[in-house]
């Protein structure tokens, strides 16, 4: 374990030191103690990633910008409930931005791109496995996603990355809703048993 990520590390440094480091978990802990400079540093570190996640789901820049603002307000208010021993700060932030973005989509709706590059849309999740980070934490997910059948994998990716509902996935894949629900479920169970092995 790298010392700057250890759950006890935050106890031994002041917030200026924490701000100078670039670990999200340490910064979030400092934000929880009320450090505005840590929040700024966290924004500098994470805003491009989080805005990208939000934009991919809500598809409208002005809404994604609102989502990103809400995320950092929420981080300011809730950072003290983040517990570093639970894991990476970036995963915590990902959860918040996805929750907010999905909430915005439910309230405001969005257009579902066709997946047809000839219409100017991105092709359906090309080379998904290759695009996942080669970081240690992602190795197992890469391996396990590769073991799913293609429909299951596409369902999981469209739901998590694009924030698609069952019905939207069915529309995108031109598949019956019942099949999509079953692919999601079986894909999750296959992923779980692979990830736990």
């Amino acid at each position: 374990m790298r010392p700057e990520n250890g759950p006890l590390a935050a106890l031994f440094m002041d917030d200026n030191q924490a701000t100078a480091l670039s670990s999200s978990a340490i910064l979030i802990a400092a934000v929880g103690r009320g450090s505005r400079s840590a929040l700024k540093r966290l924004y500098e570190l994470e805003s491009r990633r989080l805005y990208g996640i939000a934009l991919r789901i809500v598809r409208r820049p002005e809404i994604a910008a609102d989502v990103l603002q809400d995320v950092f307000i929420q981080v300011w208010q809730n950072a003290r409930t983040f517990s570093a021993e639970r894991g990476a700060g970036s995963a915590w932030l990902t959860g918040i931005v996805r929750f907010r973005a999905l909430d915005a989509v439910r309230k405001l709706g969005r257009e579902i791109p066709s997946g047809d590059p000839s219409l100017g849309d991105e092709a359906v999740e090309p080379n998904v496995i290759e695009q996942i980070d080669a970081k240690a934490e992602a190795v197992a997910l890469r391996r396990c996603l590769a073991s799913l059948d293609e429909n299951q994998r596409r369902c999981v990716v469209l739901a998590f990355v694009d924030g698609f509902s069952h019905a939207e996935i069915a529309q995108r894949l031109s598949a019956p809703l019942g099949s999509v629900k079953s692919w999601v479920r079986r894909g999750l169970l296959a992923l779980r048993s692979c990830l736990q092995s």
């Binding site: 009320g34 805003s47 809730n78 995963a91 959860g95 918040i96 999905l102 999981v156 990355v161 169970l189």
Partner: protein, 228 residues
């Protein structure tokens, strides 16, 4: 209905984290997270293991005004975080979201709707730590304390809601009593702890209330008392 078989529970938790559940099913999960440790474990498993997928969304530079907007909102009337509060330590599930702004909006609505002739001395809006919706309204004055459910007023089966107050800056919650099944709790007098800046919280407890005089279950609603 939260399933009990491991496969069903894990699949449902995965669907929750993916975000494909219908809103009422997702709300059922969120309510159950407060009391179901297996469900918390399953949700945490998926949140951690699926997180690397988010790298498939390419990072994009956000518009220039976003940080300025955040600063403006922090400098506005919203609450600032303060030092570690007991309910955060006591809550096994680390809530991912909160709704202080929404609670403030709910408070404003409540004030708007309350006739001036019965204006209370103190008022609090309690909300679930992970939801934006105001769930309970508390008013306190010479006539005593009244806490009433606005939404989400039903505890899990075989459990009760217990109301607690914490003095401003205090660490020890003081029980104000178990909330009756109809979601309305009335106290004839005002304990000393019920004053401006005190925190009200509702925890999930065994029937009859906490056996230890301190919260034993998760805190599911929380809010601050403000003088009117």
């Amino acid at each position: 209905m939260i399933p009990e078989t491991p496969d069903e529970l894990d699949a449902l938790a995965g669907e929750y984290v993916l975000g494909v559940l219908e809103p009422h099913d997702a709300q059922e999960i969120e309510a159950a997270l407060a009391t179901n440790a297996e469900l918390r474990r399953a949700v945490a498993f998926w949140a951690e293991h699926l997180h690397p997928l988010s790298a498939l969304a390419s990072p994009v530079e956000p518009p220039a005004g976003v940080w300025g907007g955040i600063v403006a909102r922090l400098d506005g009337p919203a609450r600032n975080p303060s030092s570690s509060r007991w309910w955060n330590r006591a809550t096994p599930w680390r809530w991912s979201t909160a709704g202080f702004a929404a609670a403030a909006a709910g408070l404003a609505l409540y004030i708007t709707l309350t006739p001036m002739s019965s204006a209370p001395s103190f008022v609090a809006v309690l909300h679930a730590p992970q939801q934006d919706q105001a769930s309970w309204v508390a008013t306190a004055g010479r006539a005593g304390l009244l806490v009433r459910a606005v939404a989400g007023g039903t505890p899990p089966s075989d459990r009760v809601f217990e109301l607690w107050a914490i003095a401003p800056g205090g660490a020890q919650p003081q029980s104000l009593g178990v909330i009756p099944p109809d979601g309305v709790l009335r106290l004839g007098g005002l304990p000393d702890v019920v004053r401006d800046g005190a925190t009200l919280a509702i925890s999930v407890e065994p029937p009859g209330g906490s056996p230890t005089k301190q919260p034993t279950g998760p805190v599911v609603f929380v809010g601050a008392l403000k003088a009117m």
